[in-house]
Amino acid sequence: MHGQIPELGEALQIKILTQNPLALSGFIIIVAVLFIAIFAPWLSPYDPNYIDIHSILLPPSVSHFMGTDGLGRDVFSRMLYGSRISLLVGIVAVGIATVIGTFLGAIAGFYRGYTDSIIMRFVDTMLSIPTFFLILAVIAFLTPSIWNIMIVIGLTSWMGVTRLVRAEFLSLRNREYILAAEAMGASDFRLISKHLLPNSLTPIIVTSVLGIASAVLTESGLSFLGLGVQAPQSSWGNILTDGKEYIQFAWWLSLFPGLAILITVLGYNLLGEGLRDLLDPKNKNQKK
């Protein structure tokens, strides 16, 4: 049954990715954003924080691709540097969520019984608190900074991963190869890390990619409310917030950051859904 389905490593090869236009377009977008983020200092024509009072609110032109903002800073350069923030926040926040979620889910699914009930009740409790309220309260009380944002988003978004890993573990736990390994005296740690976890990796990766999308949106929402990344550091969310004041006569300040967020989030969603399609055994069977 599993013969036809590409493994995760294989799926990331261009050849197989091209089978799925969703995954491919998502992959291209993400690689492009990654490229921009890494090479921002070389790509940006100006210093993103250089204030030039002689060129305030210039519309897009050859010398300023995306115009300038209320302080005369080059929006294009600020956008390029902003990609670093959204990339960093997405990856670190989801990294934290994935580690916590996998750890708790693995323990719940492996030991079952009381451990499982306690962990799952905790998950249910966390799921019933409106997450954005929780994030907002914590960030506002801890003073907003990029590190706080990443940690808080991570700490409030691990529940989905826990449920997923637990479900995978429960279904794998009594397979023959696991029982055989257990009978041969493998330790709990070895069972989890060598046998159960590798076999649950695919859904974890798919969820994480989709999770990055929502982390990016959350960060930009927080920045928009003024509780995100603080000036002078530029993030797409706070460029947009600054631009909000000038929307009547400087549309470029509001248009470009929103588009950038849209395209990046779209990229992660496409890649995630595409990977899910590619790696899902059920889909392969349908196509035959």
């Binding site: 309220f133 928009f224 929103g258 969603n269």
Partner: protein, 328 residues
């Protein structure tokens, strides 16, 4: 459910104590004459001098009686529900005022999400891989990725400022009280268009994708082949047999989406200046109005629990297998 309620109250309570300093710090910061002694008095007044666990116990004892205390803001309104003072003056509760507004926007939003996403999902599934499906999928993915506040901003500018078709903030125009009944509804309707649209966009995308995939799954099953073999019309097969089976899990999804909807109201309500739960919460967080923050966190979570309970009951009611106690 009781352990979860306790968990919720614990989390709401301890979040407040992440903040460095306490209310007396900001109060004395505004008043340079405040001495250490008077700060201690304030602390004792608010029970802040007691150990955390005692404070939690005291708070819990009050919220069990649905007493969420009064706001720290100068108006000192009760957080949850109206109170009467000795003279018989009624002060309305803050959540009492804000909750119906947020509920109204989200319930209308949910209704629209439901109707539209079922329509989009079914059209998409029936035309799998043909142009209507492709088009809907593209729209769905963009709807999923679009930052709500950005769209709100652009729409507000375009429909409100450049064209002045729609009002851009609040829920009522000036002079609302003097309008006739019908004019009042019309006014409210106009004010609701943008906020409801923005709040339902994300949910619309995810649920129509869900309906599409669910329909595709169900359409593969044998009872659908049987229904077709019986010679039922395609409409009957799709709407009578397939759709009903797809809708079942949707009930749970809607239950799970409640916290997102409530949480999402912060940005929408701040942009459109609507004084619902989201805006109330945001303002309270910025002012460090702890009773209000704790009250909204708790009430919001309890509402979610309640929504999930209703979803579970609805599921049991809608699924004949559960209703008649048949397992598989």
């Amino acid at each position: 459910m009781i352990p979860m309620l306790i968990g919720i109250s614990l989390i709401s309570f301890f979040i407040m104590h992440l903040a460095p300093g306490d209310i007396t710090a900001s109060e004395s910061a505004f008043n340079p004459k405040a001495s250490e002694e008077s700060r201690q008095k304030l602390r004792a007044l608010y029970n802040l001098d007691k150990p955390l666990i005692t404070q939690y116990g005291l708070w819990l004892k009050r919220i069990v009686k649905l007493d969420f205390g009064n706001s720290f803001a100068s108006h000192q309104r009760p957080v949850l529900w109206e109170t009467k003072d000795d003279k018989g003056n009624v002060t309305k509760g803050m959540i009492q005022d804000a909750l119906p507004i947020t509920l109204m926007i989200n319930l209308i939003g949910l209704l629209i999400i439901f109707v539209l996403s079922i329509f989009l999902g079914v059209v998409s599934a029936v035309n799998q891989n043909r142009w209507p499906d492709r088009l809907i999928t593209v729209i769905v993915f963009i709807g999923f990725a679009i930052p709500g506040f950005w769209l709100a901003l652009l729409l507000m500018y375009w429909t409100g400022v450049t064209h002045s078709w729609l009002p851009i903030s609040g829920l009522h125009s000036a002079g609302y009280e003097k309008m006739g009944q019908i004019a009042q509804y019309l006014d409210l309707f106009k004010h609701l268009i943008l906020p409801v649209f923005v709040s339902s966009l994300g949910g619309l995308a995810s649920i129509s994708l869900y309906v599409r995939n669910g329909m595709l799954d169900v359409l593969q099953q044998e009872f659908i082949t049987t229904a077709r073999a019986k010679g039922l019309t395609e409409n009957k097969v799709v709407y009578g047999h397939a759709l009903r089976n797809t809708l079942l899990p949707l009930i749970t999804i809607v239950g799970l989406s409640i916290p997102g909807l409530i949480g999402g109201s912060v940005i929408g309500e701040s942009i459109f200046a609507i004084s619902g739960m989201g805006k109330l919460f945001f303002d309270a967080v910025l002012m460090r109005d702890f009773p209000v923050v704790m009250g909204i966190l708790t009430i919001g979570s309890v509402l979610t629990l309640f929504g999930n309970l209703i979803a579970d009951i609805g599921y049991a009611w809608a699924d004949p297998r559960i209703r008649r106690g048949i397992t598989n």
